[in-house]
Point group: C2
Chain length 185, copies 2
DNA sequence: CTAGACATGTAACGCGTTACATGATTAT
DNA sequence: ATAATCATGTAACGCGTTACATGTCTAG
Protein backbone atom coordinates (compact mmCIF):
# COMPACT_ATOMS: atom_id res chain seq x y z
CA UNK A 1 0.00 0.00 0.00
CA UNK A 2 1.33 3.36 -1.05
CA UNK A 3 2.55 5.83 1.51
CA UNK A 4 1.23 9.23 0.55
CA UNK A 5 2.48 12.53 1.93
CA UNK A 6 0.18 15.38 2.84
CA UNK A 7 1.23 17.15 -0.33
CA UNK A 8 0.37 13.98 -2.23
CA UNK A 9 -3.15 13.97 -0.81
CA UNK A 10 -3.58 17.66 -1.56
CA UNK A 11 -2.67 17.06 -5.18
CA UNK A 12 -4.81 13.94 -5.39
CA UNK A 13 -7.75 15.95 -4.07
CA UNK A 14 -7.27 18.64 -6.69
CA UNK A 15 -7.10 16.02 -9.43
CA UNK A 16 -10.48 14.74 -8.28
CA UNK A 17 -12.04 18.06 -9.28
CA UNK A 18 -10.70 17.96 -12.81
CA UNK A 19 -7.68 16.64 -14.71
CA UNK A 20 -4.76 18.94 -14.13
CA UNK A 21 -1.11 19.31 -14.97
CA UNK A 22 1.70 19.93 -12.51
CA UNK A 23 1.70 23.52 -13.61
CA UNK A 24 -2.03 23.87 -12.90
CA UNK A 25 -1.43 22.56 -9.40
CA UNK A 26 1.45 24.96 -8.91
CA UNK A 27 -0.73 27.91 -9.85
CA UNK A 28 -3.36 26.86 -7.36
CA UNK A 29 -0.79 26.59 -4.59
CA UNK A 30 0.66 29.93 -5.59
CA UNK A 31 -2.57 31.91 -5.88
CA UNK A 32 -5.16 30.53 -3.49
CA UNK A 33 -5.41 29.81 0.24
CA UNK A 34 -4.21 26.29 -0.63
CA UNK A 35 -0.86 28.07 -0.62
CA UNK A 36 0.12 26.44 2.64
CA UNK A 37 1.56 23.87 0.23
CA UNK A 38 4.71 24.60 -1.64
CA UNK A 39 4.38 25.58 -5.28
CA UNK A 40 7.98 24.67 -6.05
CA UNK A 41 8.50 22.40 -9.06
CA UNK A 42 10.99 20.37 -7.05
CA UNK A 43 8.14 19.31 -4.79
CA UNK A 44 5.21 18.96 -7.17
CA UNK A 45 6.62 17.14 -10.17
CA UNK A 46 8.29 14.40 -8.13
CA UNK A 47 5.09 14.07 -6.08
CA UNK A 48 3.06 13.54 -9.23
CA UNK A 49 5.53 10.95 -10.45
CA UNK A 50 5.31 9.12 -7.16
CA UNK A 51 1.52 9.12 -7.29
CA UNK A 52 1.74 7.71 -10.80
CA UNK A 53 4.32 5.11 -9.86
CA UNK A 54 2.05 3.96 -7.03
CA UNK A 55 -0.89 3.67 -9.41
CA UNK A 56 -2.94 6.44 -7.83
CA UNK A 57 -3.03 8.74 -10.83
CA UNK A 58 -2.52 8.35 -14.55
CA UNK A 59 -0.84 11.04 -16.60
CA UNK A 60 -1.09 11.56 -20.30
CA UNK A 61 0.56 14.00 -22.63
CA UNK A 62 -1.78 16.56 -24.08
CA UNK A 63 -0.24 17.59 -27.33
CA UNK A 64 -2.99 17.45 -29.93
CA UNK A 65 -2.85 21.04 -31.12
CA UNK A 66 -0.21 21.77 -28.55
CA UNK A 67 3.41 21.34 -29.34
CA UNK A 68 3.96 22.39 -25.82
CA UNK A 69 4.36 19.29 -23.79
CA UNK A 70 1.82 19.21 -21.02
CA UNK A 71 1.22 16.20 -18.85
CA UNK A 72 -2.31 16.02 -17.49
CA UNK A 73 -3.12 13.73 -14.58
CA UNK A 74 -6.33 12.21 -13.32
CA UNK A 75 -6.93 9.79 -10.45
CA UNK A 76 -7.31 6.10 -11.16
CA UNK A 77 -10.02 3.98 -9.61
CA UNK A 78 -7.46 2.82 -7.05
CA UNK A 79 -6.49 6.46 -6.40
CA UNK A 80 -10.09 7.38 -5.74
CA UNK A 81 -10.51 4.50 -3.35
CA UNK A 82 -7.31 5.38 -1.50
CA UNK A 83 -8.33 9.02 -1.22
CA UNK A 84 -11.73 8.19 0.15
CA UNK A 85 -10.22 5.70 2.59
CA UNK A 86 -7.92 8.45 3.87
CA UNK A 87 -10.79 10.89 4.22
CA UNK A 88 -12.98 8.50 6.14
CA UNK A 89 -10.34 7.21 8.55
CA UNK A 90 -11.38 7.47 12.18
CA UNK A 91 -10.34 10.66 13.95
CA UNK A 92 -8.03 10.12 16.91
CA UNK A 93 -7.16 12.52 19.69
CA UNK A 94 -3.65 12.42 18.30
CA UNK A 95 -4.92 13.74 14.98
CA UNK A 96 -6.51 16.68 16.76
CA UNK A 97 -3.38 17.43 18.79
CA UNK A 98 -0.74 16.96 16.10
CA UNK A 99 -2.36 16.93 12.70
CA UNK A 100 -5.14 19.48 12.62
CA UNK A 101 -3.97 20.69 9.21
CA UNK A 102 -4.35 17.19 7.81
CA UNK A 103 -7.86 16.93 9.23
CA UNK A 104 -8.88 20.17 7.57
CA UNK A 105 -7.45 18.98 4.28
CA UNK A 106 -9.35 15.73 4.59
CA UNK A 107 -12.52 17.66 5.17
CA UNK A 108 -12.05 20.26 2.47
CA UNK A 109 -12.66 17.79 -0.36
CA UNK A 110 -15.19 15.75 1.56
CA UNK A 111 -18.50 16.18 -0.14
CA UNK A 112 -17.07 16.00 -3.64
CA UNK A 113 -15.48 12.65 -2.99
CA UNK A 114 -16.95 10.90 0.02
CA UNK A 115 -20.40 12.42 0.16
CA UNK A 116 -22.43 14.48 2.53
CA UNK A 117 -23.00 11.71 5.03
CA UNK A 118 -19.24 11.21 5.37
CA UNK A 119 -18.89 14.94 5.99
CA UNK A 120 -21.47 14.79 8.73
CA UNK A 121 -19.81 11.80 10.35
CA UNK A 122 -16.46 13.55 10.14
CA UNK A 123 -17.76 16.70 11.83
CA UNK A 124 -19.49 14.74 14.56
CA UNK A 125 -16.29 12.87 15.38
CA UNK A 126 -14.19 15.99 15.17
CA UNK A 127 -16.55 17.80 17.51
CA UNK A 128 -16.30 14.94 19.96
CA UNK A 129 -12.51 15.03 19.99
CA UNK A 130 -12.39 18.80 20.29
CA UNK A 131 -14.90 18.76 23.14
CA UNK A 132 -12.52 16.54 25.05
CA UNK A 133 -9.19 18.17 24.14
CA UNK A 134 -10.03 21.85 24.35
CA UNK A 135 -10.95 21.97 28.05
CA UNK A 136 -7.90 19.86 28.88
CA UNK A 137 -5.66 22.43 27.24
CA UNK A 138 -7.47 25.27 29.00
CA UNK A 139 -7.02 23.44 32.26
CA UNK A 140 -3.31 22.96 31.67
CA UNK A 141 -2.96 26.68 31.08
CA UNK A 142 -4.83 27.55 34.25
CA UNK A 143 -2.75 25.12 36.30
CA UNK A 144 0.60 26.35 35.03
CA UNK A 145 -0.10 30.02 34.38
CA UNK A 146 1.43 31.18 37.62
CA UNK A 147 4.91 29.90 36.87
CA UNK A 148 4.93 30.91 33.21
CA UNK A 149 6.35 34.15 31.86
CA UNK A 150 3.76 36.47 30.33
CA UNK A 151 4.73 35.82 26.72
CA UNK A 152 4.67 32.07 27.25
CA UNK A 153 1.28 32.26 28.89
CA UNK A 154 -0.07 34.39 26.07
CA UNK A 155 1.35 32.13 23.36
CA UNK A 156 -0.39 29.18 24.95
CA UNK A 157 -3.55 31.24 25.35
CA UNK A 158 -3.43 31.78 21.60
CA UNK A 159 -3.29 28.04 21.02
CA UNK A 160 -6.18 27.40 23.37
CA UNK A 161 -8.28 30.07 21.72
CA UNK A 162 -7.51 28.57 18.35
CA UNK A 163 -8.87 25.21 19.47
CA UNK A 164 -11.91 26.79 21.09
CA UNK A 165 -12.67 28.61 17.85
CA UNK A 166 -12.22 25.35 15.99
CA UNK A 167 -14.79 23.72 18.21
CA UNK A 168 -17.29 26.52 17.57
CA UNK A 169 -16.58 26.18 13.86
CA UNK A 170 -17.04 22.45 13.91
CA UNK A 171 -20.42 22.78 15.57
CA UNK A 172 -21.65 25.47 13.22
CA UNK A 173 -20.42 23.50 10.22
CA UNK A 174 -22.33 20.47 11.41
CA UNK A 175 -25.45 22.55 11.88
CA UNK A 176 -25.02 23.82 8.34
CA UNK A 177 -25.10 20.26 7.03
CA UNK A 178 -27.97 19.10 9.18
CA UNK A 179 -30.19 22.03 8.32
CA UNK A 180 -29.86 21.12 4.68
CA UNK A 181 -30.69 17.52 5.19
CA UNK A 182 -32.69 16.38 2.22
CA UNK A 183 -32.89 19.88 0.83
CA UNK A 184 -31.91 19.96 -2.78
CA UNK A 185 -29.64 23.02 -2.99
CA UNK B 1 26.03 31.85 9.99
CA UNK B 2 24.28 28.76 11.21
CA UNK B 3 21.04 27.62 9.67
CA UNK B 4 18.73 26.60 12.46
CA UNK B 5 15.55 24.59 12.06
CA UNK B 6 12.37 25.36 13.93
CA UNK B 7 13.07 22.43 16.21
CA UNK B 8 16.52 23.91 16.81
CA UNK B 9 15.03 27.20 17.91
CA UNK B 10 12.50 25.47 20.13
CA UNK B 11 15.32 23.62 21.89
CA UNK B 12 17.48 26.72 22.09
CA UNK B 13 14.59 28.58 23.71
CA UNK B 14 14.14 25.86 26.31
CA UNK B 15 17.86 25.93 27.11
CA UNK B 16 17.55 29.65 27.82
CA UNK B 17 15.27 28.86 30.74
CA UNK B 18 17.71 26.47 32.37
CA UNK B 19 20.43 23.99 31.37
CA UNK B 20 18.81 20.84 30.15
CA UNK B 21 19.69 17.45 28.70
CA UNK B 22 18.23 15.95 25.56
CA UNK B 23 16.10 13.78 27.75
CA UNK B 24 14.72 16.80 29.58
CA UNK B 25 13.76 18.33 26.27
CA UNK B 26 12.12 15.12 25.17
CA UNK B 27 9.99 15.03 28.28
CA UNK B 28 8.83 18.58 27.68
CA UNK B 29 7.85 17.78 24.12
CA UNK B 30 6.12 14.63 25.28
CA UNK B 31 4.17 16.09 28.19
CA UNK B 32 3.34 19.72 27.51
CA UNK B 33 1.62 21.72 24.77
CA UNK B 34 5.10 22.16 23.27
CA UNK B 35 4.33 18.68 21.98
CA UNK B 36 3.83 19.99 18.46
CA UNK B 37 7.52 19.15 18.28
CA UNK B 38 8.65 15.59 18.01
CA UNK B 39 10.01 13.95 21.12
CA UNK B 40 11.83 11.28 19.16
CA UNK B 41 15.48 10.78 20.05
CA UNK B 42 16.32 10.62 16.36
CA UNK B 43 15.29 14.25 16.06
CA UNK B 44 16.45 15.76 19.33
CA UNK B 45 19.93 14.35 19.88
CA UNK B 46 21.15 15.18 16.37
CA UNK B 47 19.60 18.66 16.70
CA UNK B 48 21.53 19.26 19.93
CA UNK B 49 24.74 18.08 18.29
CA UNK B 50 24.16 20.45 15.39
CA UNK B 51 23.55 23.35 17.73
CA UNK B 52 26.77 22.49 19.50
CA UNK B 53 28.73 22.10 16.28
CA UNK B 54 27.51 25.55 15.22
CA UNK B 55 28.63 27.05 18.53
CA UNK B 56 25.14 27.93 19.72
CA UNK B 57 25.12 25.70 22.79
CA UNK B 58 27.72 24.03 24.94
CA UNK B 59 27.17 20.61 26.42
CA UNK B 60 28.92 19.09 29.38
CA UNK B 61 28.70 15.71 30.96
CA UNK B 62 27.12 15.72 34.38
CA UNK B 63 28.56 12.76 36.14
CA UNK B 64 29.70 13.92 39.56
CA UNK B 65 27.62 11.63 41.72
CA UNK B 66 25.97 10.24 38.64
CA UNK B 67 27.50 7.31 36.87
CA UNK B 68 24.69 7.75 34.44
CA UNK B 69 25.96 9.74 31.56
CA UNK B 70 23.90 12.85 31.12
CA UNK B 71 24.86 15.63 28.78
CA UNK B 72 23.54 19.00 29.88
CA UNK B 73 23.44 21.88 27.43
CA UNK B 74 23.29 25.62 27.86
CA UNK B 75 23.35 28.41 25.27
CA UNK B 76 26.60 30.20 24.53
CA UNK B 77 26.84 33.96 24.22
CA UNK B 78 26.67 33.52 20.47
CA UNK B 79 23.64 31.28 20.85
CA UNK B 80 21.86 33.89 22.91
CA UNK B 81 22.59 36.55 20.35
CA UNK B 82 21.40 34.37 17.49
CA UNK B 83 18.21 33.50 19.35
CA UNK B 84 17.42 37.10 20.09
CA UNK B 85 18.17 38.09 16.49
CA UNK B 86 15.68 35.48 15.32
CA UNK B 87 13.04 36.66 17.74
CA UNK B 88 13.36 40.30 16.76
CA UNK B 89 13.39 39.79 13.01
CA UNK B 90 10.83 41.91 11.18
CA UNK B 91 7.48 40.24 10.58
CA UNK B 92 6.56 39.86 6.92
CA UNK B 93 3.19 39.11 5.40
CA UNK B 94 4.75 35.87 4.25
CA UNK B 95 5.46 34.91 7.86
CA UNK B 96 1.81 35.43 8.70
CA UNK B 97 0.59 33.43 5.71
CA UNK B 98 3.03 30.53 5.83
CA UNK B 99 4.80 30.45 9.16
CA UNK B 100 2.35 31.39 11.89
CA UNK B 101 3.66 28.55 14.05
CA UNK B 102 7.16 29.98 13.87
CA UNK B 103 5.86 33.42 14.87
CA UNK B 104 4.14 31.98 17.91
CA UNK B 105 7.30 30.14 18.89
CA UNK B 106 9.30 33.33 18.54
CA UNK B 107 6.86 35.11 20.79
CA UNK B 108 6.52 32.42 23.41
CA UNK B 109 10.04 32.98 24.78
CA UNK B 110 10.00 36.69 24.13
CA UNK B 111 10.10 38.41 27.48
CA UNK B 112 12.57 36.00 29.00
CA UNK B 113 15.09 36.64 26.29
CA UNK B 114 14.38 39.83 24.37
CA UNK B 115 12.49 41.83 26.93
CA UNK B 116 9.09 43.37 27.29
CA UNK B 117 9.67 46.13 24.78
CA UNK B 118 10.54 43.58 22.11
CA UNK B 119 7.33 41.73 22.94
CA UNK B 120 5.34 44.91 22.50
CA UNK B 121 7.00 45.68 19.20
CA UNK B 122 6.37 42.14 18.04
CA UNK B 123 2.68 42.29 18.87
CA UNK B 124 2.26 45.67 17.22
CA UNK B 125 3.82 44.40 14.00
CA UNK B 126 1.89 41.16 14.13
CA UNK B 127 -1.35 43.05 14.62
CA UNK B 128 -0.53 45.21 11.62
CA UNK B 129 0.08 42.21 9.38
CA UNK B 130 -3.03 40.40 10.59
CA UNK B 131 -5.16 43.49 10.08
CA UNK B 132 -4.13 43.47 6.45
CA UNK B 133 -4.24 39.73 5.75
CA UNK B 134 -7.39 38.69 7.55
CA UNK B 135 -9.86 40.82 5.55
CA UNK B 136 -8.13 39.78 2.32
CA UNK B 137 -8.76 36.14 3.16
CA UNK B 138 -12.35 36.86 4.11
CA UNK B 139 -12.81 38.71 0.84
CA UNK B 140 -11.38 35.79 -1.13
CA UNK B 141 -13.87 33.48 0.52
CA UNK B 142 -16.78 35.77 -0.24
CA UNK B 143 -15.72 36.14 -3.87
CA UNK B 144 -15.32 32.42 -4.49
CA UNK B 145 -17.91 30.93 -2.18
CA UNK B 146 -20.49 30.46 -4.91
CA UNK B 147 -18.41 28.08 -6.96
CA UNK B 148 -17.01 26.12 -4.02
CA UNK B 149 -18.47 22.91 -2.65
CA UNK B 150 -19.83 23.20 0.87
CA UNK B 151 -17.00 21.33 2.57
CA UNK B 152 -14.39 23.41 0.75
CA UNK B 153 -16.15 26.60 1.71
CA UNK B 154 -16.37 25.52 5.32
CA UNK B 155 -12.74 24.43 5.49
CA UNK B 156 -11.71 27.84 4.26
CA UNK B 157 -14.13 29.46 6.68
CA UNK B 158 -12.29 27.63 9.42
CA UNK B 159 -9.00 29.11 8.30
CA UNK B 160 -10.43 32.60 8.11
CA UNK B 161 -11.93 32.30 11.57
CA UNK B 162 -8.59 31.10 12.88
CA UNK B 163 -6.90 34.23 11.59
CA UNK B 164 -9.66 36.48 12.89
CA UNK B 165 -9.28 34.93 16.32
CA UNK B 166 -5.54 35.41 16.08
CA UNK B 167 -6.07 39.09 15.41
CA UNK B 168 -8.32 39.43 18.44
CA UNK B 169 -5.73 37.58 20.50
CA UNK B 170 -2.91 39.77 19.26
CA UNK B 171 -4.79 42.91 20.25
CA UNK B 172 -5.72 41.63 23.67
CA UNK B 173 -2.16 40.45 24.27
CA UNK B 174 -0.86 43.87 23.37
CA UNK B 175 -3.34 45.49 25.74
CA UNK B 176 -2.12 43.14 28.45
CA UNK B 177 1.42 44.42 28.02
CA UNK B 178 0.50 48.07 27.76
CA UNK B 179 -1.69 48.04 30.85
CA UNK B 180 1.26 46.79 32.85
CA UNK B 181 3.63 49.37 31.53
CA UNK B 182 5.95 50.32 34.35
CA UNK B 183 4.08 48.13 36.79
CA UNK B 184 6.44 45.99 38.80
CA UNK B 185 5.02 42.56 39.05
C1' DC C 1 12.91 40.49 -31.09
C1' DT C 2 12.89 40.05 -26.49
C1' DA C 3 10.75 39.79 -21.98
C1' DG C 4 7.65 37.15 -19.54
C1' DA C 5 4.48 33.49 -18.95
C1' DC C 6 4.08 28.53 -19.93
C1' DA C 7 5.81 23.94 -18.69
C1' DT C 8 8.69 20.27 -16.91
C1' DG C 9 12.40 18.52 -15.09
C1' DT C 10 16.95 17.17 -12.13
C1' DA C 11 20.67 17.16 -8.47
C1' DA C 12 22.53 18.23 -3.91
C1' DC C 13 21.33 18.84 0.55
C1' DG C 14 19.27 18.81 5.17
C1' DC C 15 16.39 17.20 8.41
C1' DG C 16 12.69 14.60 10.47
C1' DT C 17 10.72 9.69 10.83
C1' DT C 18 11.10 5.05 12.02
C1' DA C 19 13.32 1.46 13.94
C1' DC C 20 16.85 -0.53 16.29
C1' DA C 21 20.57 -0.78 19.87
C1' DT C 22 22.80 -0.26 24.31
C1' DG C 23 23.27 0.03 29.01
C1' DA C 24 22.46 1.92 33.84
C1' DT C 25 19.30 2.70 37.68
C1' DT C 26 14.99 2.26 40.33
C1' DA C 27 10.84 0.07 41.78
C1' DT C 28 8.20 -4.14 42.62
C1' DA D 1 14.80 -11.00 39.39
C1' DT D 2 12.72 -8.32 36.15
C1' DA D 3 10.08 -4.71 34.34
C1' DA D 4 10.02 0.12 33.85
C1' DT D 5 12.32 4.33 33.55
C1' DC D 6 16.43 6.95 32.65
C1' DA D 7 19.50 8.32 28.93
C1' DT D 8 21.85 8.58 24.56
C1' DG D 9 22.79 7.20 20.39
C1' DT D 10 22.92 5.47 15.07
C1' DA D 11 21.41 4.00 10.28
C1' DA D 12 18.20 3.85 6.42
C1' DC D 13 14.86 6.25 4.25
C1' DG D 14 11.77 9.75 2.25
C1' DC D 15 10.57 14.04 1.06
C1' DG D 16 10.68 19.00 0.77
C1' DT D 17 13.99 23.04 -0.24
C1' DT D 18 16.98 25.41 -3.15
C1' DA D 19 19.05 26.15 -7.24
C1' DC D 20 19.80 25.27 -11.76
C1' DA D 21 18.59 23.83 -16.61
C1' DT D 22 15.89 23.67 -20.80
C1' DG D 23 12.83 24.87 -24.16
C1' DT D 24 8.12 26.94 -26.10
C1' DC D 25 4.74 30.33 -26.91
C1' DT D 26 2.69 34.98 -26.63
C1' DA D 27 2.54 39.96 -26.13
C1' DG D 28 4.38 44.36 -26.91
Amino acid sequence: MANISLLGYAILGLLHQEPRSGYDVRKIFANTPMGTFSDSPGAIYPALRRLEKDGLVRGQLRSASDLRRRRVYRPTRYGRRAFKAWQTRPISSDDVIHRMDELLLRFSFMDQTAGRSAAVRFLKNLTRELRSYTPALRKYLKANARQMPLSGKLALESGVRGYEELLRWSRSALARYLNRKGVRR
